[in-house]
């Protein structure tokens, strides 16, 4: 069998344009176990990346003992990512949290659920007693829980406590995808389908190292590249990633200059007549403004800003401009960079200009970084309202108030829900006094970790952490709640191409650990939240009831789940929303008729100025008369908040490794994956390494105005002037006495995109120097 650590993508199964992607069933079982020995196979899907690969969990003697890809599923046709093949072992890790912990005299000590929940409820009630009590709660959740858990949390926050301070770590991974989709098309919702890979004749990867972030999607692309009539490929990335090596054309742009590049490319497309005039006239608003803005970006100027050859920009424009079925995919290289929303919108513009949307092969993925990030967004457990509703539209608020039977005033809608970075700022200032963190590890994943630790360590801040392990964040909590995870609880989740999967419970959680949903529902019961008639606000007891309630909330909205049931998800393939009476098998592509969700009564936002984030009003939005047409947004390039200077002359970009996910909470506890990439490193261009006197493997010091890390050097694989450090590594697997700074986010700055509020992880000014032996 193929060693999938050495070969993360496995064997090729080539296919031709328009063909059906052949099945290839990947299986991994515990040592010595054969498929015959497995007691049961239990249906699920991946939670270790955002692709949504369907799999069955092998159960042996009441324990998870392996996985097998589901050939029947539309997403992966049986294939699995190496993280899924091995990552299930983390469920059985001996250091799982099995009892709640509370802080006593500065130390976390084990306790029972009544004591732990009692403390949270007591503190909550105390805070609610004073005027403005709602504003003292902050919830920071995840892109890794299940739909039902997010929706329950959203109702607790928005209808129970009435706080706008709820967001997910999705702010770090997918907020720009949502913001760009809303801005261009009226609401969130991925236009394309993964099957667009089967039909396209060109693939453009915009800051998306899909080979490492969604390996199965990459396998699909590689199989097309190895078959007849392969698609052309364009990669935009400062690093020489596997994607860049495979691509026909690689633009290694200077970090932070994506918008300048896109403006230049669109200028060429317009000037050379490669746009679809009829489509633009019938289905878009804003062409003249866009054309005027991008006209100031001739290839020479773009070449100078982005530091790529002008000829390559022209070649890229030709590749994009002459393709007949163009597939684009966008990820963190755009989302976590300078002018994120504006740059992501320009990719939308490319597809609108060329009429490359809503038909086979002409696809657009504004991707997600985490497995269930789509649900965080849909259910309103992040800075959105449930059902992709518009906080500024009184009719949408009335709908929610009716649905939950609460006063409209209870639902926070006087401003957009508070974004994560602002929640942390309020916690720092002291106006948020209870911060409840679920299924994420901000002490490793947020920018400027020294600041994050300082905030979590504040005596006045009551911190609740709900997780599987004693993470770097949990170490600083006042109450730690042990959760069940994937395979130990029932629920659904939705991937980046809107495919909804069911994940069944295969085994019991360890010790006293509980499903996140049960924890939230227990809190709701103990808090005794009431509706406007004095009845209980939340009466659900399990995931299926919450799912049915969510279906009612989603009805009539773009993410309509009303045609989906647990039963329908069992046995077959996942189903793409919207799934309704009219579309009982789900919907493969959105906007096939060129009618977008921009109607003022339907849209999710009235829009923003892309350079400042200034909000437009309903009247201003209506005045543009979108009438179902998409918006072509435009903005000029501006340098990032942090640019290299004398003291910090290089740029740091951060990102993923194929072997790890999030902060290695699970993958770091998986022997094969931990061994494949045991420690962080810094990637340097050979010319920079030479100049600094650094050889491959040398220990080096990387410093920014926030901090310094010490990591070994890897020479090669990146453009000059830019260095790369993977963002997964924290400190949990190192003895507290022996920890030295090594997390990439010790260096990154607290700065964010003005529209999506996604932090700018990929443009940090740094200094790199060799470390003397013994230093």
């Amino acid at each position: 069998m193929v060693d999938r650590v050495a070969d993360p993508w496995g064997a090729r199964t080539p296919y031709r344009q328009g063909g059906c992607w052949p099945d290839r069933v990947d299986v991994q079982l515990a040592d010595g176990l054969s498929p015959r020995d497995v007691d049961r196979w239990v249906q699920s899907a991946s939670v270790l990346h955002s692709n949504g690969d369907a799999m069955d969990i092998a159960v042996k003697d009441g324990r998870i003992a392996g996985v097998r890809g589901r050939a029947v599923d539309r997403v992966n046709h049986g294939r699995l990512d190496p993280k899924d093949l091995y990552g299930w072992q983390a469920n059985n890790s001996p250091d799982r949290l099995t009892r709640p912990l509370v802080r006593e005299h500065g130390r976390l000590v084990p306790t029972d659920w009544d004591t732990a929940m009692g403390r949270i409820v007591q503190r909550s009630k105390q805070l609610l007693d004073d005027p403005g009590g709602w504003g003292r709660f902050g919830f920071y959740t995840s892109g890794q829980l299940f739909l039902e858990e997010y929706y329950a949390l959203a109702v607790i926050g928005k209808a129970g406590l009435g706080t706008p301070h709820m967001d997910g770590n999705t702010r770090l991974c997918t907020a720009t995808a949502a913001a760009a989709l809303k801005a261009s098309f009226g609401t969130d919702g991925q236009p394309g389908s993964y099957t667009d890979v089967d039909h396209c004749d060109a693939i453009a990867l915009w800051g998306h190292n899909v080979a490492e972030t969604q390996t199965v999607l990459w396998t699909r692309m590689l199989d097309r590249r190895h078959g007849a009539e392969p698609p052309a490929m364009l990669a935009v990335d400062p690093r020489t990633t596997p994607v860049a090596r495979e691509a026909d054309l690689h633009l290694a742009v200077r970090a932070g200059t994506n918008l300048a590049l896109l403006n230049g490319l669109l200028r060429e497309i317009i000037r050379r007549g490669w746009y679809d005039e009829r489509y633009v006239a019938a289905h878009t608003v804003g062409f003249d403004d866009l054309a005027a803005v991008v006209d100031a970006y001739p290839p020479d100027r773009v070449a100078a800003v982005c530091d790529v050859p002008a000829g390559d920009i022209e070649r890229a424009a030709e590749l994009l401009g002459t393709s007949r079925r163009l597939l684009s995919t966008v990820l963190q290289g755009f989302y976590q960079s300078n002018q994120a929303t504006a740059a992501a919108c320009q990719v939308n513009n490319l597809h609108l200009l060329r009429g490359m949307i809503g038909r086979r092969g002409a696809g657009l993925y504004q991707m997600n970084g985490q497995p269930t990030a789509q649900n965080t967004r849909e259910t309103g457990a992040d800075g959105d309202l449930p059902g992709l509703r518009n906080w500024d539209n009184p009719a949408h608020i009335r709908e929610l108030a009716r649905l939950w039977n609460v006063d409209e005033m209870t639902i926070p809608h006087w401003a957009p829900p508070t974004h994560a970075m602002q929640i942390w700022r309020y916690a720092e200032q002291g106006s948020i006094e209870l911060l409840w963190i679920s299924a994420t590890n901000p002490a490793v994943s947020l920018p400027d970790l020294a600041r994050v630790r300082r905030i979590l360590g504040r005596d006045e801040l009551f911190v609740v952490v709900q997780d599987l392990f004693l993470t770097e964040t949990a170490e600083l909590a006042d109450v730690v709640l042990p959760s069940a995870t994937w395979g130990e609880k029932l629920g659904t989740f939705t991937n980046a191409d809107r495919t909804v999967h069911l994940s069944e419970k295969a085994v019991d959680p360890p010790g006293a650990a509980r499903a996140d949903l049960d924890i939230f529902l227990d809190y709701a019961r103990r808090m005794d939240f009431r509706d406007r008639d004095g009845g209980p606000l939340i009466e659900w007891t399990g995931p299926q009831e919450v799912f049915e309630a969510w279906k009612r909330c989603s009805a009539g909205r773009p993410c309509d789940y009303t045609g989906i049931t647990y039963e329908r998800l069992r046995g077959g393939s996942g189903i793409q929303w919207p799934c309704t009476d009219d579309a009982p098998d789900g919907t493969e592509r959105l906007y096939t008729d060129g009618v977008f969700n921009t109607d003022p009564d339907y849209c999710e936002t009235y829009g923003h100025d892309l350079s400042t984030g200034a909000e437009f009003t309903a009247d201003e939005y209506r005045a543009r008369e979108p009438a179902g047409r998409a918006f072509l947004h435009a903005a000029g390039y501006q340098p990032s908040p942090e640019v290299p200077g004398e003291e910090y002359p290089m740029l740091l970009t951060t990102g993923r490794s194929v072997y790890h996910f999030h902060t290695r909470t699970k993958t770091g506890r998986t022997p094969e994956l931990a061994a494949a990439a045991p420690e962080p490193w810094v990637e340097l261009n050979p010319a920079d390494a030479d100049r600094l006197g650094i050889a491959d493997g040398d220990p080096v010091q990387v410093s920014s105005p926030r901090g310094t890390i010490r990591v070994p050097a890897r020479v090669g694989g990146i453009r000059p002037g830019v260095v790369f450090v993977p963002f997964h590594y924290g400190y949990f697997d190192i003895d507290p006495g022996k920890r030295t700074p090594r997390a990439a986010n010790e260096l990154t700055a607290t700065a964010w995109d003005p529209v999506s509020k996604q932090p700018i992880f990929k443009v940090t000014a740094v200094r790199v120097a060799p470390l003397e032996p013994g230093e």
Binding site: G132, G135, T612, G613, A614, P754
Partner: protein
């Protein structure tokens, strides 16, 4: 012809606003979005002042002395804390509003003077001032409940 007075007023108002944006950026560096966006908007104001300057010079040859009480002073330094932040943003808003109405008035005068060049500058810059107002309003609306109701 009194246009020069208003050009001078607007020019000064833009410089004052640029300076105030910079002071707020420096004073509220703990609000990471504000530091960056205030610096950015200060540069927008600088550009406006630069564009106005040739017109101010051209029209100043045709005017009597500047009348008294034309210039107003809105900003007297930054404050601290959540409430202070709100008040500082409100000052910026009022200063930008002064620029906004000046653009409208100067635009009308440019029409009267049949000055196409000046009209073009006004059209371009007043849109950017409108964005500043809108952004400040957005930011204050977001900050107000927490600063006025929640913070102890």
């Amino acid at each position: 012809m009194h246009l020069a007075h208003y050009l001078g007023l607007l020019h000064r108002a833009q410089l004052n606003l640029a300076d105030a944006f910079r002071q707020v950026a420096a004073a509220h560096g703990d609000e990471p979005d504000l530091e960056h966006l205030c610096e950015q908007q200060a540069r927008v104001c600088d550009r406006h002042a630069e564009r106005l300057e040739p017109f101010a010079r051209r029209y100043s040859e045709q005017v009597p002395d500047e009348p008294d009480r034309l210039h107003s002073e809105l900003f007297r330094g930054t404050r601290t804390g959540g409430l202070g932040l709100l008040r500082d943003l409100q000052d910026l808003y009022l200063m930008a509003a002064e620029c906004d109405i000046c653009w409208a008035i100067v635009g009308q005068a440019a029409n009267g003077a049949r000055d196409r060049d000046l009209l073009e500058v006004v059209t371009r810059c007043e849109t950017e001032t409108a964005v500043q107002l809108k952004w400040l309003r957005t930011r204050m609306r977001q900050a107000a409940p927490q600063a006025l109701v929640v913070a102890r």
